[in-house]
Point group: C4
């Protein structure tokens, strides 16, 4: 990695690239889209659709996690969201979708109040049980701060994949106030595979891989619902971040003598082309929120928000209105009568793979990309 | 070619340039525009106007193909469009132009329905015969998927130039479902010259040249009517793509001991300046749609759409409204009272050649260009 | 420093970067925000909040300077503003906030009239005394042109820190018309520490450091209230400027055998992310105007203007309307229900330091930054 | 000059920079603006204001050329404009300013009609005589196409400086239809100094210098009234163009044993900052149109257009509405109550020179500039 640009006499930097800065290019060979496989295999599970539903209340309810599972993907329920705070969260989901859009501070304040309700361990158990009964892969997420408190409830409820997700999660969190989560020990003792992140660089990701995680989420508040760059000055351009973490996967594979840790791009994937590019940069799967929030049957009812939007101390996101394009099934598999990359996500991936001549996702990671001006 | 930019630790890329990123610069010598020749010669045909009308229903009907031929260019009829599906396509052209613009999904759906009507071989014959009777060069296009089914009808109808055009056409298409078109064999057996594409890189174009094609279309869904970049993540910046394919022409010329394959820029050429730049990057001719759709006598009646717009599975383009600037003759040859590059396309090319001191298109390909910020 | 870019055959240049062009990236380690110190120590003074209120009438009155001091920062009163021209400036502050926004030339003219009132030495004494009585650190600013005339009044009034601030202040001002201020002699004779600027490059800053200044302001009319770039063609991209001046600090530290001159970023810091980035580029503290003008208790009452806006000869800024986000305390320390980097500035800095794993501002200057497309 | 960027496999290019891409930076020394000289000396003439009024009917009438001369600059009358076509052009100027702005083709057509009126040699004589009687330096311009026809009338009328100005003027114009103007012979035989252009590169400018021209206009249709880039694909980024032509001046100075040919930036200088940057890139003076069209006493009465706007064959510009900022004197010398670089042009230049420490324009050409993102 070359820090080849001099910003000033005392600081050098590298240039990073977002998905908007790159594009795939057609290759010598093309392929029939029907011959292409989009299978994603992690641990004991195989998903025909390499799409993970982001643990956000506007996107994943128990019902929509089940539906996503039936459609071949993986739904992750936010275990610190409304479904584990309220016996019946529907009135609050309704209220959030009805808060007046022209008074953002009021929206933020009200969301902070709604999310101040404590999390109940028994609701965690109940929600995950509901998903399990539907016969799909069960996954739930906690933040690192809450993992120690609630992980037992999660594991006892019978989760298949456990997700630890925060804005930034490092393998080495330092605090003088509370004993931080020892990820390595935690994962070692847990009997389910863990996906952890966000991480947005080679070294942080490598350290997370060494904790024993089955997958690493690549991202840092770059999604549609976050204003992290403006507020904190921190930003991880997604194309560069995925490539860096994919390099960590490769190096860790060697270092560990063969442990393949999955790289899951998380954040900023707004349309099907973004998802395609994330895969081409080295992602094994994508965790998406906004594209799923456009489903007519999404819990957000045309609105989308992330956990940052109602952070009690430092809210950074916003509740965003989304255009609706069809059912979750239409969003994933079409048929599409929208031409802007918002529906038939899997069809788009399949077609992009066919056009560039690849038949598996692992091969597709080798795609040639170019840097090109944003249109 | 240097993949000199590190996007991340596991991926390198080259930077590519669109026509908007470049400009010609005046040279030491200027020339009288009247001394400039814009002749384009391919196979046995010489066209005073190096403009090929794109096979799109909004641009090329039999009548407008004839008119373009009379004006010195080459009209290519889309043999999978309305004119070969319907005995009288006019009511459908009218209907498309009247579909309400504020409901894009409905426009897309209705176009999908209209284009679901089967193609009739006898209409292919009739339409091409109509063009032939007018005494201009006859050209029609099919997609690779339909070429085997209808090519006999086309050749029997007496076509002068045959165009095989898809979003991406490779010389090596792989399918387990149907026997793909063997381009090399097909072209070898055909007794008319074939223009084939789109191709958007050195290697894909070189392979197409080796099939025996007389010309290669350079492009990949970059036109005004396509949202390919957003939906599929695939994009070929036009200036780089033309230069790459021109390099393939040069290398194939050597490899083949003298076969000159024409490079025809296809897509994203919205105004006369784009056409000029495409020539300067190495194109022998340009295939254009949008500029011709601005003619008052264009079939699209102020609207423009490509085949992607009504793709039955994965529509990606949109029916776009175009400002109208005058007859096809005015668009090509002026007199111009529009100052924005939408009329007098040939006059603009002539003037640009004169200003940079070149007298033939082949010489003009050597023009110096610079990279400059978009304005 | 490499002047590696050829603009043309007779001029080379370096590329410079603004804060919008860069971003911080998360690192291997994260830290508890509560363990982070934002202390800034200059001369005998320690400020828990490394924020200096810009000497602008819309931002700093005696009352708001006192309030900022109480909140841990440093307020600097403009000693050439309304508070030292008028016994009671409130009617004029009111009038400026009520001037009709659709007639900018009239606003400029009226402000020129209001600021034509002479400065009174006794008002300088009175205003500084008022601040001193409140028990906070006392600071006032003059332009280089007025420093000789009024500096005695300032020092006699008992100022703790003296600020000499102009658009550009050099250590070597040449004039045939009036004896310029000899900064080195002036600072040597004064018995209070002096902060001086703006400077926007390595060499100008190094020369200012050699005058004995305790701090250097980095900037050149880059703030929200200035149109210097458009009118004068002069611009100092802030990220590069801070890094250059930080390099001067490092080199002067060696050259002087250990004198540490503080680098204070001044101008163009509109949101908390900008402040974070300025620190990461090497600033010891930030002087801000616009973010403080968004306080409901700011003297500008929702408007913001700098001294350039009413320059008698060459006005360059404009009175700008600002959205209001809460009290000065809310702007600095939250609680925030605004998600756009306009409130809880100190919280944002603390969180950014924690996320990148640093516990002091001095360490935080080593942060890794990347160059990334503007969003 | 390094053609270091590969656009594609068959074309390399250099990157060029417009004035918007660069900025001056403050230096170690500052200077009192009153000590700065903006004198420009060409041939026997010294102009306190290095501003040449562009020969455009919206900017230069005999009266405004005289006024500009009185204010220290040089007015150039367009000898192919309305003042030499009509005994009383005022009705036509009035009409142009009243043509409805929402029907651009009609505006263009009507202007083409108005400018179809033949040029009268006797009106050339009369207009130049009127300027001469006012006691200011007399200058008029012709296009290369008309120079042979009318140059005698011009010289006999007693012009001090003769301007030959076209979009692109080369020293080597080739035509099979008419004997082109032999610039070298023409200038040699003429007894007045000639300024000629536009030229936009090192080689074209060097060749123009070798014809014996006293000055070269740098530009190619980059002004506010031209759409050359869009229509012809030709563009000369102004910062690079000026630097290249300044290099030709330097090299020709050596080659000729001491003949200093003036470099006059012409086009795209919309605000005072642009003028400042043009000087810093190496221009000796600037020819401006748009900034003067903003004068309340400009002939265009709030509108601005160039000769391209009514070209009989290939119109490329547009009649553009301009905000008005004050009299010509205010535009040049202030007092300014506009803060956007549209008034007090000379004051801005003076202040920029003072801030960067230079006292003459020739020294100012050495200014350090940086490349910076457009704001």
């Amino acid at each position: 990695m070359s820090y080849d640009i001099e910003i000033g006499r005392s600081k050098r930097a590298r240039r990073t690239y977002s998905l908007d800065d790159i594009a795939l290019v057609p290759a010598r060979r093309t392929r029939d889209p029907r011959d292409v496989s989009t299978d994603w295999q992690i641990d004991a599970f195989t998903f025909p659709t390499p799409i993970v539903g982001a643990p956000m209340d506007s996107v994943m309810s128990p019902a929509s996690a089940i539906e996503l599972g039936r459609l071949g993907g993986l739904g992750v329920l936010n275990l610190e969201g409304l479904w584990t705070r309220y016996e019946d969260p529907q009135p609050y989901l309704d209220e959030i979708s009805l808060l007046p859009g022209d008074d953002m501070p009021r929206v933020t304040s009200r969301m902070q109040e709604i999310y101040a309700e404590p999390i109940k361990a028994e609701l965690i158990t109940a929600r995950l049980a509901e998903i399990r009964e539907a016969g799909v892969v069960v996954a739930g997420s906690l933040t690192p701060q809450r993992t120690q408190e609630f992980s037992r409830a999660v594991v006892n409820a019978g989760v298949d994949l456990f997700v630890i997700r925060g804005t930034t999660v490092s393998a080495e969190h330092v605090s003088q106030n509370q004993e931080p989560l020892d990820l390595k020990e935690f994962i070692y003792e847990l009997d389910v595979p863990v996906i952890v992140g966000g991480a947005a660089g080679y070294t942080p990701a490598l350290h997370l891989m060494r904790t024993g995680a089955a997958g690493v989420l690549v991202g840092f508040g770059g999604g549609a619902t976050s204003t992290t760059r403006r507020a904190l000055g921190i930003h991880a351009a997604m194309a560069s971040a995925i490539s860096d973490v994919a390099a960590a996967r490769r190096d860790y594979l060697d270092e560990s003598g063969g442990r393949y840790v999955h790289v899951i791009a998380d954040g900023g994937l707004g349309v099907s082309g973004d998802m395609v590019k994330a895969m081409a940069m080295g992602a094994d799967a994508v965790m998406i929120g906004a594209p799923l929030a456009r489903a007519t049957d999404a819990p957000g009812r045309g609105y989308h928000w992330g956990p940052e939007a109602h952070h009690h101390e430092y809210p950074r996101g916003a509740r965003t209105q989304m255009s609706q394009v069809g059912t979750l099934e239409t969003v994933l598999n079409g048929p599409s009568n929208h031409v802007d990359g918002t529906s038939n996500l899997v069809g788009a991936l399949r077609r992009a793979m066919a056009t560039t001549g690849y038949s598996t996702l692992k091969e597709f990671q080798r795609s040639e990309v170019v840097i090109t001006q944003r249109s």
